[in-house]
Symmetry: none
Subunit: 188 residues, 4 copies
DNA sequence: CATGAATGAGGCTTCATTCAT
DNA sequence: TATGAATGAAGCCTCATTCAT
């Protein structure tokens, strides 16, 4: 007797696997079901439709990723040490979860982003935005549009993870060595 | 009467338009033909198949982009001034050709890259690689893996174009202001 | 409600009907589905593709045909009486199943024969070959290449069925009268 | 400067080649034109359509085949010697023109036979029919329906040619050895 | 909740034929 | 006559989704 939600998890897992290896459109819902060991119809008892599955998968993956960051004091500023902590946490999570990382990137440049997801992203932005603003005010990072800085750093982190992943590099030393590209990019 | 190759051009144009707005898989060959004002079969007199159309479109777009860079002396080094020239040329072409830019990015992370295209890219890389190597040797940029530096800069340029495009910003002043994120990222 | 496999049977029946009346290439999968009263896609839940449908239809038809012959003692020889039994069984089955007969003939000269089917045929041949060899050794049939004799007789039986079918002749008397053309052809 | 009708001949030749190797439906008119070294449209200046080309090709091939038989006295009878002459002529022509032979067989069991061709065949039949009738009356061949005997012999000749062709056998000795299967089949 | 056979719209591609040059 | 680009109907097949069990 399988626990309730077991099948949902299996479907999510298969979906992640297949979407990242074959792309959204070359992955049929039937293949996801098959790979998860459930019937074709079962997928639709857990998700309204394929798009919904993709969005749910994104939301949960994103939440898992956001969960790795420790709570921050309200008045934190982006010093080199602080940014290095984020860098290490992000890169290491990405290297341990390459498919999840790839999925997040794929999703963001896909036509599946819905309004809901956009709102969700905006929320993240708002929180982070404060930190960036304060850091600019303190003169520790460049005085450029906040959105630009946020997205540029995010983008650079993703890029670095993809670079290391594809070369199967896991050395902390390398991660340390690459950090200055990040920090110099934004520091004042 | 229409000039020869007129239809081919129309198909290319429609394809660029539709692929960038709806994605490769959500763009049917029929919709491309319709949008180009030709019969469904006509597309296949100019391209063997959908994949072939995508590859041709990439190759021609890439060539157009590469064509904007002036010839360089063999012993050129990546000083701030030199990098700034590339930055300006790239960003401005990207802003004038946002769809072409988007298409290039889309293509590179799609499953449509064929061996031919990979070889073509490898060639580009080899040429640029020398410049990076010399610059590292001269101590003007960071001593990090060449591939990392090349891809990171490329990625950052693309990101910046997408950022500016989506906000319809065309100011040279802004482009100048953002340049330090690029240069600081790699300079020694 | 319909019994399981009802649709498969209906598809097979329609396929036999259409293939024999219009040929393989002038029969669309859509027309088969329509004629069977199912949706276009349904055909493909029972058969991988058109070729597969044709092969399955052949295999099942061939098995049905082979099933009409009684088990033979291992040392049987092709005397006139024995050959007459085969003649009667074959012709009568052919007259009762003219479409199936026509289909078997069509299939054998089509490009749809796959390796599997060839192997299957080779097996039949091997079994029959022994009988022919023994009969030659005993001097009851002509001493000619076994393959020639086997194929010539098979071909003559098919021809006779087609001849009688197209004229709607079912008389046992006629079948008896025509038998000597067969027997004289091969007897010593 | 090519003679008029040169292209027509080239088209006929390519058509024979392609039809016999790939079948009617897997041979496009474009491929015939290409193989004949003419433009796609040119085929349609010589033939109304594909079907017409097939019929013309059949008619000409059939006439060539019929032309190999020497004129016969009006009161000829099918003695063993006479039949042997037909057998030798037919088989040898078939072995020298395997594609033409194959084409004739293909055509007869295809959906391309039109009324015109049927009429043409009926004419042949009428002429030959007299010979068969006289031979039956003289008691030299079996007293069976004339059409049956005519078609059975024709069919057996075709079969033998195909058998020998596919095994690349050209020995006159073998042809002689196989003759009794033919003669015994019909002789009284 | 789970199943999986069934649906049918829609996608890619082929090809006989036409027609302006 | 000859050309070959252009046409668009038609073919095979896929797949998200439904629904009776």
């Amino acid at each position: 007797m399988s626990k309730p939600k077991d099948k949902r998890k299996a479907l999510m897992k298969s979906a992640l696997e297949l979407f990242t290896s074959k792309g959204f459109d070359n992955t049929s819902t039937a293949s996801i079901s098959r790979s998860a060991g459930v019937a074709t119809g079962t997928l639709f008892t857990y998700f309204d439709n394929k798009e919904s599955l993709i969005n749910d998968l994104y939301l949960e993956t994103k939440m898992e990723f956001m969960g790795i960051f420790p709570p921050m004091p309200d008045d934190i500023i982006m010093t080199e040490e602080v940014v290095k902590v984020f860098w290490d946490l992000s890169i290491n999570w990405g290297l341990k979860n390459p498919k999840k990382m790839k999925f997040i990137v794929m999703y963001k440049s896909s036509p599946y982003i819905t309004k809901m997801t956009w709102d969700e992203l905006a929320e993240d932005m708002a929180l982070l935005g404060n930190i960036y603003q304060r850091s600019i005010d303190e003169g520790v990072i460049k005085d450029l549009p906040i959105e630009y800085l946020m997205e540029a750093t995010t983008s650079h982190v993703y890029f670095t993870i993809l670079y290391l992943s594809s070369r199967k590099i896991k050395d902390q030393q390398v991660i340390d060595d690459l950090f200055p590209t990040m920090w110099d990019m934004i520091r004042a």
